[in-house]
Symmetry: C3
Subunit: 350 residues, 3 copies
Amino acid sequence: MFLKNQWYVACRPDDVADRPFARTLLEQPMVFFRDALGVVTAVEDFCPHRGAPLSLGFVDSGQLVCGYHGLRLAADGSVASMPKQRVHSFPCNRHFPTVERYGFIWVWPGEPTLADPEALPKFNWATDPGWAYGGGLYHVRADYRLMIDNLMDLTHETYVHASSIGQREIDEQPVRTKVIDETVVTSRVMENVKAPPFWQMAMEQRGLDPESLVDRWQVCQFHAPSHVMIDVGVALAGNGGMDAPDEAKVRAVVVDFMTPETPTSHWYFWGMARTWAVEDASVTEAVRSGQGAIFAEDLAILEAQQRSLDLNPTRKLLMLDIDAGGVQSRRLIQKLWDAEQASAGEVAHA
Amino acid sequence: MFLKNQWYVACRPDDVADRPFARTLLEQPMVFFRDALGVVTAVEDFCPHRGAPLSLGFVDSGQLVCGYHGLRLAADGSVASMPKQRVHSFPCNRHFPTVERYGFIWVWPGEPTLADPEALPKFNWATDPGWAYGGGLYHVRADYRLMIDNLMDLTHETYVHASSIGQREIDEQPVRTKVIDETVVTSRVMENVKAPPFWQMAMEQRGLDPESLVDRWQVCQFHAPSHVMIDVGVALAGNGGMDAPDEAKVRAVVVDFMTPETPTSHWYFWGMARTWAVEDASVTEAVRSGQGAIFAEDLAILEAQQRSLDLNPTRKLLMLDIDAGGVQSRRLIQKLWDAEQASAGEVAHA
Amino acid sequence: MFLKNQWYVACRPDDVADRPFARTLLEQPMVFFRDALGVVTAVEDFCPHRGAPLSLGFVDSGQLVCGYHGLRLAADGSVASMPKQRVHSFPCNRHFPTVERYGFIWVWPGEPTLADPEALPKFNWATDPGWAYGGGLYHVRADYRLMIDNLMDLTHETYVHASSIGQREIDEQPVRTKVIDETVVTSRVMENVKAPPFWQMAMEQRGLDPESLVDRWQVCQFHAPSHVMIDVGVALAGNGGMDAPDEAKVRAVVVDFMTPETPTSHWYFWGMARTWAVEDASVTEAVRSGQGAIFAEDLAILEAQQRSLDLNPTRKLLMLDIDAGGVQSRRLIQKLWDAEQASAGEVAHA
């Protein structure tokens, strides 16, 4: 189940340079290119002439030229020209609104007239110079909602990431889940614990003693359609945890954008925005590389879980307190999906 | 949609030497072997005993011996013998008429009693010593009719083969399409143009100045079930083009036999017969190698086009004037197919 | 068609050491592990919490710990514990009875209450110190019944194994097939023949002159659900063949356990128990390696046969006298399967 009338992360700005860029999102093959002003646009990756993928062609003067017989598409999906042809009656390609923001290209796969750039989420970590960001992309052969479940229940860290960010105390601390408007929040605090290896590395980069006891927090926020931002960090014990003064803590936001490709695969844009050593590119690279290794562990589990669920399609799963974050997020997606279907029905009957 | 009561190219004579040769044509696994006189024959690649592919066995005294339990098949598909068995009541394998001609093995996948070797096309380039031939084989994961479309509309050369045989002038010259009995002909003439790189190479091999202006022609002929012969060449400008005297032109026939494997794949036997430097094997190899590289570009486009069409099965394509060659060829296939179905019905009711 | 209420070979004891071991048998993903006493057990490879494969986790104190969120399964498939959860109402996983015997782990995929270790077959070669065993495992993409056919008709040796155990005389000697209770027996004797290469090697290892004429025997026994034991050997001619004194013969049992994975694939546990040079590990290795190469030839034929049958699903095969062993074995499987279905119906109506 995919929400269509939403902004999704499609790719990075560098992916769309001087050549067309193909990616299938929400089961729709799309091709991204830049118009004459350098503004990114997206259209169906299908030439209306003979059906070849337009992404095999090239970009010329802001138009996308089919690599088979030279049909030229304008940025809005209309046919601009074709050698020796009158094209005014040619059908248009579907066009998908796009916005370039926060270091990503965002796409709206649904009804274009509903696409409002103002509806894009606001991310302080992406605009405030007090933060530094690094990240990557994984293609995951699993329903994007399995990744939401994963990110909204961090008890898995004790098992999946035992050598980096997992620790016994995660299991032992109950989690609290709240739904506030269209956001689901799960949070967990571990006080007076030893920092796990990843956070010891961060403490060192910050100039803190990695052996000190800390208060550790994890606050996961789900927003429709499929973004999870996780406020994480450790503060020297007794300084107020998340609210401790900057010099006593290391704080980051784990950034997760999951864009469905098919019902059982998605593009996973992962990253971390941090508040320490923000000028130091080597720290960015060390954090990115460490996070990449950790998230590859999730990828392996989720793909195995998807295959296992495919083999057992009627089997009911347990829904425990620790699962509440995922359950509430799926409920929110379902609610928005029902609304989208109802509204599509209204449009159809209008 | 495949025509069955037709001669198709199956393989090259060398493919069927002293061992059985397996190939699936028109969704039928076939095995080719030579009888005691060296005559090629083809039967179903399925042992009537336990169903193993007969092509895993060997040929002995002109019989095909199953590699599992030793059943021996005669050239006509009947069971000749089997150790310690009386085989007279064993069912026969289907047998497919074959002819070895023009450097190919031809097969008739349909009703054997209708197979008439006289119905094979006549190819002057294959029998006249004034021509030299070289070619190759590609397996293409696309409907064979996409290749017919491709070959009957050479405007694609400007885009797909920009660096070898494409040139801007192709786009700029209109194409004429005619249907004459069971042949579709599309032709285009470009006068007073510079030769593209491939033809410059040919002019040099002929001893002509490659920088001279030329008249270039392309005459594509489609014959059922799936052959496209393209008369191509360049003549020094003002000498009559295609009709110029031999010493002022380089002329060739692009030879294309497409034999369906499945509805979305085919065997593409491509080659070129030329009239210059016909004794020079190094020219044959240079032409063959150049053509192989050019046709690999078509292969890439067509396979992408097939995947794209598979994802958009209900979508209508445009049919422009440049597409008339392919459209008429498909119409001819459809007409012959309707006749084949009607005639099969008559046989069934007789 | 699989019999479910039967003992099948699942794996070797070494496969289940200190980590969980996953294998799909009879279309059921299973995970094998050892309880606190070292006794092997098998349960569904599916975590009742979120559906991840349990085999990705680890074994701790004889419990299987899920690698995603730490649910712990006891050896009987019940949930033993989970961090911060009360698990008494959690559903149990299906549990599959297992027995470790004869150097294999046996599993009962059907109704657990019917599993009787006494029903395991008795194998003299596995318990008598006068025998030595070596073997291996192949994954074969073919219906397990095609392997039964193969092993119950050794005329294929002349064709498939021409260079090792095949010989012309196999073809020339008729085979006798008997059904005795729930066992099918096919036997063939070749008197006064030259030993083929494999048996010449065995004769040398035994200290016999490999060039002597021999009496050769092959007695194939099929037992439900899918085991074939083949008593094979050669004796110096005129000494009574199979009943010759030990010093005049080399005798072995070809051991074949086929455990279905899917309708068109199986796990093939092959091996050979021999009576000569039983203390000599280098002979074990030479025999094992030779047999592995020979049986790889069967694998290639059977996988090709399966693909060929898949393409011709309605085609009838021949059933000759040489096929009687396979035909009778399939008939026995069918009879037991009918009984199993009837008995399942009774249980359902009880």
